[in-house]
């Protein structure tokens, strides 16, 4: 294509840029990312997937059909202009590609890795009707990594200083996104984080081998580059209250993105034996506190020879794969429904199987046995079968009378979900919550208290990183409107 023609195409969103004809594009197979071999990776915490290199990314970008009506963009919770950034990858203009993504998502290196693209953008991709869908997530990650490696980041220009202060509670994906968005809109933003490092679940929850912590730090630095202040070791509700933020510290709006940090247990006998962990404890010890590097790092963790993980979500997969890297002979995973109902990402289930995790489906733990020293020695599970679908359409597990299995285990990890942390709800008068303890928000992310907005797991109960990001963006728009109106009222 001539330079002139290419230049002309730049101005017209609907004109195709990629030189191949659609049927030719459809013939190209989906590119596979470079991944470490299971036997190698199960011995360490290195990132499993190295993603795409320039060649793979270029080849993959050729597969995009450049649809007139890009359904992928609509399926994306933050509506990234996917077609546009893929065209920019095609043109090898990676700096512009990442800028284009950052317009909609300020955490691309993170979302490119952990977002469940297969059920969002890639699920609706038209290429996927006849072939495997475009690897949108891997392409997002590629340009984000390219930017990190080549250091071509420059923060977006902040056009005006609004002169109003906004506090964000929680430096997880939602809080970081809201803070970045508000800073770009010209607000003075401070994030308060309870832990000693920023990142929230990206730091304490998601393992190094899926999301290296230096990537999280790099994205956090990009948020700081916008002038956002991050105060760690501050628990809102304990160190400071939300009312103090308003009354004594001149904040005019607050965004709550404190996540779902409180681990659920099964309430079965033996759950308090030594050697029984919540997945949150296991993962926090390893991810945030680096227990896998003990004794170089001081936080210990004891993983025995036979690990039993309970649950079927992403956290259960993370717990199983993390345990596997700490040297046990076997890791068994127990899930009470069948494989089809597992809430974990397919990619993660696949990775877990590759790494030798033994799945025991349709089995539900009912008791944990201990030895004379109070240590776990076995786990007893009831066999289940699938009954009628529940409200969400998932078939309900029903116990099979009298059918049990008992397996040896010296470590048990409970990964059946987390509940919202109640500290803010308890210390903020007038903040309405559901019976499950989540904060009630309306369609714009506003809570029952004026000036307080919330999103992510604290209002959804349990969701994904990208939903938290999406909520953070929604709240930042709402906060902008709220504060703009407030200022206008004050002036009149």
């Amino acid at each position: 294509m001539s330079e002139r023609k290419r230049a002309r195409n730049n101005g017209k969103a609907n004109e195709r840029v990629i030189h191949l004809k659609p049927p030719e594009r459809m013939k190209i197979p989906r590119q596979q990312p470079i991944e470490k071999e299971p036997d190698y990776r199960v011995c360490n915490f290195e990132e499993v997937s190295d993603g795409f290199d320039v060649n793979l990314a270029s080849e993959e970008a050729l597969r995009c059909l450049e649809c007139k009506d890009p359904v992928c963009m609509k399926a994306c919770p933050v509506n990234i202009d996917i077609r546009a950034f893929i065209r920019l990858i095609y043109k090898k203009d990676y700096d512009s590609a990442i800028k284009k993504i950052r317009e909609s998502n300020y955490l691309p290196a993170i979302c490119g890795r952990v977002c469940p693209q297969e059920s969002l953008c890639e699920n609706v991709c038209l290429v996927g009707k006849r072939n495997e869908p475009l690897a949108i997530g891997k392409l997002e990650r590629f340009v984000a990594d390219y930017e990190l490696k080549n250091g071509n980041f420059s923060p977006p220009e902040i056009k005006e200083n609004k002169g109003q202060k906004v506090a964000v509670v929680g430096a997880g994906p939602g809080g970081l996104t809201a803070a970045a968005d508000l800073a770009i809109r010209g607000y003075e933003v401070t994030i308060y984080e309870a832990l000693h490092e920023a990142g929230g679940v990206l730091k304490y929850g998601i393992p190094e081998f899926r999301l290296p912590k230096h990537i999280v730090d790099a994205e956090v630095d990009r948020v700081k580059a916008l002038g956002v202040k991050i105060e760690t070791n501050v628990i809102i509700g304990r160190t400071l209250t939300i009312d103090e933020l308003f009354d004594e510290m001149d904040f005019e709006a607050v965004y709550i993105g404190t996540g779902a940090g409180s681990p659920r247990f099964m309430n079965i006998p033996g759950e308090n034996l030594s050697g029984v962990y919540s997945a949150s404890e296991l993962l926090t010890r390893v991810n945030l506190m680096k227990a896998y590097k003990f004794p170089e790092y001081d936080t210990p963790l004891k993983i025995g020879n036979r690990v039993a993980v309970v649950g079927g979500g992403d956290v259960a997969m993370d717990a199983a794969r993390t345990s596997a890297r700490l040297g046990p002979e076997v890791v068994n995973l127990f899930y009470r429904r069948s494989r089809e109902e597992m809430p974990a990402r397919i990619e993660e289930i696949h990775h877990a199987e590759e790494e030798g995790i033994h799945f025991h489906l349709l089995t539900n733990p009912v008791e944990i046995f201990g030895d004379e020293n109070g240590w776990v020695k076995a786990i007893k599970c009831q066999k289940m079968e699938l009954g009628e679908p529940d409200e969400e359409g998932r078939r309900r597990p029903v116990p099979i009378d009298g059918e049990y299995i008992t397996m040896d285990a010296d470590t048990v990890v409970i990964a059946i979900g987390q509940s919202p942390n109640p500290i803010i709800q308890q210390t903020t008068p007038g903040l309405k919550t559901t019976d499950w303890g989540t904060i009630i928000v309306d369609e714009i992310g506003a809570t029952s208290r004026e000036g307080i907005f919330a999103g992510g797991d604290i209002s959804r109960g349990g969701a994904t990183v990208i939903e938290a990001v999406s909520d953070g963006k929604r709240a930042s728009r709402s906060i902008d409107e709220y504060l703009t109106e407030k200022k206008a009222v004050l002036k009149t």
Binding site: H196, I235, F265, M289
Partner: protein, 282 residues
Amino acid sequence: MYPVISKTTIAPGISRLEVEAPLIAKKRKPGNFVIVMPVEKGERIPLTIVESDPENGTITLIVQAIGKTTHIINKMEAGDHFIDVVGPLGEPTPIKNVGTVVCVGGGVGTAVIYPMAKALKEAGNRVIGIIGARNREMVILKNEMADCSDELHITTDDGSYGLKGFVTDALAQVIDENKTIQSVYTTGPLPMMKAVAEQTRKFELHTMASLNPIMMDGTGMCGACRVSVGGELKFTCVDGPEFDAHKVNFNELIQRNKTYFNQEKKSLDAYNEKCKTRGANV
């Protein structure tokens, strides 16, 4: 960064540190604790806030060198700093004027009972203090406890100071002599708190124990500090640290606290070895 303003050694292996943490000092109530991490690559550990000075923005911590982290803290001097201090954590001690109360502290647990005793005294209670230690030189906060107690009993295991025996021996005597005790508060090693609970149970004396389980984040996020209280699952960091001692499953907690015994020993041995070879503070 949280600077150490002053440090004194109050008994062999036990030091008292005043640490700058203005937001925490302002909010702290008796019964609250902090989670501290002294150094990079360190461990997060819980410590009771013994006193706070909101005007100067400082909190007082008392630390006994037991594992690696507490050894590191014990070697800190004025001018050093903790890299992380977060709090105030936990539910404060409910302080009411109920009449006569007994405050039983054992070992370094005396540093936990003292702020409770002080607050109970200030609320108008008649406070009977009982503190115990291995021997004379390990007795801590004797004067402070005397100041806030109407009656103070001190016990040592070897009889080198006060009554020879355990805090439970003094408690037996106190219960015998005082028929109007409303509440007993106890902090110290788990077997001691268990023994106190067993003793007061016979008299149906309401007893609160401040528990010291394994803890990591201190905000209800990990569940490491879970305990069974009256058959219910409780997180010490957010639901406690004080619970009805007659309902606490102490045996379970004693077992759970042994979880990392081997690792803790390994960590401390390696640290001591390093200190020896360098011949200086590490």
